[in-house]
């Protein structure tokens, strides 16, 4: 018998999920064709926020890869848009002129971002935040431009803003109302949220209505109705979405705000169904995946001829995917007539919780700062549960129990909100299918497959169900994709098996690739050099170009040369030498760096050794994972506020620690009073002179993730500064992940822990001994290359072609 032809318009999250449900019911019922306007297989749109925030890559968000379509015999046309449906002939036509007929047709065209109808909205540099293309555009812009404006202070706008901050842009968020996320939060929660996001660096312009976007060729700024304006190189519009119903309307299918469907997702035209954000059910259009997936399941059954469970609407809950912010909201969260509410507001901990009650039953909730009860509340709203005394009691208790949350959940409690997967279903799948990892649970049950917010809970369930046999492997951070081992495991194995070479480590420890990759090779090279100071021979071919050639590669393939100027202090003689060299080699740019020294930019690779020889100054290591600069202020030699000789200490520190390889670059500064002119507060190690002593700050960072340093301790003498700094550095060298700056490391291991280690006199002594061993093994790399002809030959000279001979 010939199969019935099923066509899906819209290769997105709701439509493809519905197809998956159909295949689960009967793989052989239909001959399936899918059209999608975007040039990608179905991907997880939700995770675009995570991609923009830098936690995932675009490559990792595919949900159904090309192979999936092939193995399920689905004909897929991407980059192709359906432009017409002929409901009489049961045929449709695409923008590529293709005509296809159907027996059953699903419309899942999603939504279109709403673009404000203001002048200039079509300028270059204005974008929505909806698909991969938008996301790529923003990431590209962030490389060149600095100022971003996000119009819209809802979920999407705030997630976009957080992403742009992570990409290093300054971000203004413009919102028309006087508080953020008004569709999900009440004013109290919203103000808490605003305060937290401001701390993260967002700037808010509330009660501002956009009048115009201006600029010559591309965006230069936004003007508001009140006459004020701001500058912006990138404008992201996140002011809402509109169901994508043009095709349906033009084809004569009944629409309102969305395509009107009944409880079986049927439109008014026989054999045509709609599902997802384009559909309107009982007057409601949903914009979150959980209800869309519920719809998909009902439609799959209906289309396969099983009309048992009608779709009766959903209660939705939302969470904001911004790191460091926990908010949750569900149901009817605003007090109104006939409702009362229970509230907990702990200003000190920044926790706010509210549940709204009508007729003794919970109908909505807002949580800020502590969202651990979100799932439970959503369940209670679903089940129309009355508020018990026990509930009230637990609600008022601060969430300090260390008991695992999963143990107290009921089997029917939902773990994955997006996909509606319960604790019971997950535990059963783990046992029945012998699942071992979060990924296996995801592939088997769909839990954690969408927004990923429940990954932690799924891991806890694995541990809870499997007990001892649970393999924590699955959750750990590995060195890179070439191995399943973490940094600590690799180091332990190197020590235990006394491994000595990068290749040896990879083959003995079962690397998946023969020669590793650009991530693990430099990392292993560093770990080995740290473990065997003076003995390990640095492997040139496992070094990133900058550290192999001891110069920084530029966009055009030339290099930069930054000689050391200890403590930012120079002499007429040094300056003369630099000037001479720059002139002789036609250096295109001489620049003062942000690290108080001079950069010669645009030098040809072949000229590097000669320039170093003529400069006859030590390398400034401006390219290395090592000590970069020690910035200093003038100090008490000249400054009227100076309490200490900061330049002398800075020079001493730079001479002591220069050339030391570290997991990532290390920057230091010494200021002679708390005015902090050398910016000691944002350095890996920052010293501040005070009357009678020095304060030592650690873990500061002035780069991508701005972080103020923590006060490690205050000491009396310069010797003590050197001693504490040395111990701190060595402990960092021995325990940080490769490419982990001190700011991240201090946060990960904790300042208290670092103090415990380096304040113990015996431990400190040993750390300092190992540090000295490492320091003794270093040589100035420029000098070494200048002296070694073979090294110059191997690394710096190009091959020469002989004049061609014709054959």
């Amino acid at each position: 018998m010939e199969k019935k032809k099923l066509v899906l318009i819209g290769n997105g999250m709701a439509g493809v999920r519905c197809i998956e449900e159909i295949l689960k019911i009967d793989r052989d019922l239909f001959d399936i064709t899918i059209f999608g306007s975007e040039p990608h297989p179905n991907y997880n749109r939700i995770l675009l926020s995570t991609v923009l925030q830098g936690d995932t890559s675009i490559a990792d968000i595919t949900m159904n890869d090309w192979e999936w379509y092939r193995t399920n015999n689905i004909r897929l046309f991407v980059g192709e848009t359906v432009v017409q449906i002929d409901k009489e002939k049961q045929q449709l036509r695409t923008d590529k002129g293709r005509t296809v007929s159907y027996d059953e047709l699903i419309i899942a065209t999603g939504s279109k971002p709403f673009i404000l109808p203001v002048h200039g909205a079509d300028k270059k540099g204005v974008t929505a935040f909806r698909d991969i293309k938008d996301c790529e555009m923003m990431m590209e812009y962030a490389k060149t431009y600095k100022k971003a404006a996000v119009i819209g202070g809802g979920l999407l706008g705030l997630e976009a803003a957080r992403g742009l901050l992570n990409l290093g842009m300054e971000v203004d968020v413009i919102h028309i109302f006087d508080y953020l996320m008004e569709r999900q939060l009440d004013p109290t929660a919203s103000k808490l949220l605003q305060r937290e996001l401001e701390k993260q660096g967002m700037n808010f312009l509330l009660k501002k209505e956009t009048a115009e976007i201006f600029g010559e060729n591309r965006v230069e700024g936004v003007r508001f109705k009140d006459g004020t304006e701001i500058a912006a190189d990138l404008v992201v519009m996140a002011v809402g979405i509109r169901p994508n119903i043009d095709l349906a309307r033009e084809s004569g299918i009944a629409v309102n705000r969305g395509i009107i469907v009944n409880d079986y997702l049927e439109t008014n035209v026989p054999h045509i169904y709609a599902v997802g954000e384009c559909a309107e059910h009982r007057g409601v259009v949903y914009g979150l995946v959980a209800p869309l997936y519920e719809q998909g399941k009902v439609l799959a059954e209906a289309i396969c001829g099983i009309k048992t469970h009608p779709y009766e609407g959903s209660v939705v809950s939302t969470q904001l995917k911004v790191s460091g912010v926990d908010v949750f909201s569900a149901g009817e969260f605003m007090e109104g007539e006939g409702t009362s509410s229970i509230k907990v507001y702990d200003e000190l901990r920044g926790v706010y919780k509210k549940v709204v009650v009508r007729d003794g039953k919970i109908i909505g909730a807002v949580l800020f700062g502590d969202t651990s009860e979100g799932r439970k509340l959503l369940e209670m709203i679903h089940r129309n549960e009355p508020v018990s005394d026990a509930f009230q009691l637990s609600f008022f208790q601060a969430n300090s129990t260390t008991q695992s949350t999963v143990a107290t959940m009921a089997d029917a409690d939902v773990v994955c909100g997006c996909n509606g997967v319960t604790k019971g279903a997950i535990c059963q799948a783990i046992v029945e299918h012998g699942l071992r990892t979060v990924e296996e649970v995801r592939d088997c049950t769909n839990a954690s497959r969408s927004c990923g917010g429940c990954r932690g809970l799924v891991a806890e369930l694995l541990e809870y169900t499997l007990g001892e046999t649970f393999d924590k492997q699955a959750m750990k951070e590995t060195v890179c994709g070439c191995t399943t081992l973490s940094r600590d495991e690799v180091i332990a194995e190197i020590k235990a098996k006394k491994l000595k070479y990068v290749k040896e480590v990879m083959s003995v420890l079962g690397w998946k690739t023969e020669e590793g990759c650009s991530k693990c090779r430099p990392a292993l090279n560093y770990y080995l050099s740290m473990l065997y100071p003076g003995e390990y021979v640095d492997e040139l071919e496992s070094r990133f170009v900058n550290e192999r050639l001891h110069a920084n590669i530029q966009a055009d393939g030339t290099y930069s040369v930054v000689p050391r100027m200890y403590g930012g202090v120079t002499t007429a003689e040094q300056l003369r030498k630099i000037a001479d060299v720059a002139e002789k080699y036609n250096v295109p740019m001489i620049k003062l760096t942000g690290g108080q020294r001079i950069d010669l930019l645009g030098v040809k690779k072949e000229d590097l050794p000669r320039i170093w020889a003529e400069l006859d100054m030590p390398s400034g290591y401006a390219y290395a994972k090592a000590l970069r600069t020690v910035k200093t202020c003038v100090g008490n030699q000249f400054c009227r506020f100076g309490t200490q000789d900061s330049t002398a200490l800075g020079i001493e520190m730079e001479k002591k620690f220069e050339r030391l390889n570290t997991p990532h670059k290390v920057k230091m500064a010494v200021s002679a009073c708390p005015r902090n002119c050398a910016e000691s507060g944002i350095k890996d190690v920052g010293i501040v002179g005070v009357d009678g002593g020095w304060e030592i700050y650690v873990g500061g960072n002035g780069g991508t993730h701005l972080r103020a340093g923590d006060l490690l301790c205050t000491v009396k003498t310069a010797e003590e500064v050197i001693e504490m700094t040395g111990a701190f550095l060595q402990y960092y060298r021995e325990s940080a992940n490769y490419l982990e700056r001190t700011s991240k490391w201090v946060e990960r291991v904790g300042l208290e822990h670092i103090r415990e280690v380096i304040f113990a006199p015996e431990v400190r002594k040993q750390l300092l001994e190992r540090l000295d061993q490492a320091l003794q093994a270093t040589k100035d790399p420029w000098k070494e290359i200048v002296e070694k002809k073979e090294l110059q030959e191997t690394l710096f000279t190009n091959l020469q072609a002989k004049v061609p001979v014709n054959r």
């Binding site: 990759c517 650009s518 061609p804």
Partner: protein, 101 residues
Amino acid sequence: MARVEIGSATRLVERLGKCVKVGGMELALFRLSDGRIYALENRCPHKGGDLSQGIVSGEFVFCPLHDWKISIKDGKVQAPDHGCVKTYKVEIEAGKMYIQL
């Protein structure tokens, strides 16, 4: 077709690339761990990066500018990125390297 001599094969160290200008073009030459020598056009399809200075792993080179992974044997850019680099045949005769253009 032109055949160009580009110097002695011993000048190539395993897994350390070198570049050579031939006519108006620049080539990157690599000797892999198995001793074999390959040549590619020395321009990353992304933003023109100097491939000869990339980290070589197995048959792949990682562009030094933004870490694209490119096969040295056939020039194919590896997922998630797309593109292709032209490859050239290297012949070795009496210890000298020749390139077929």
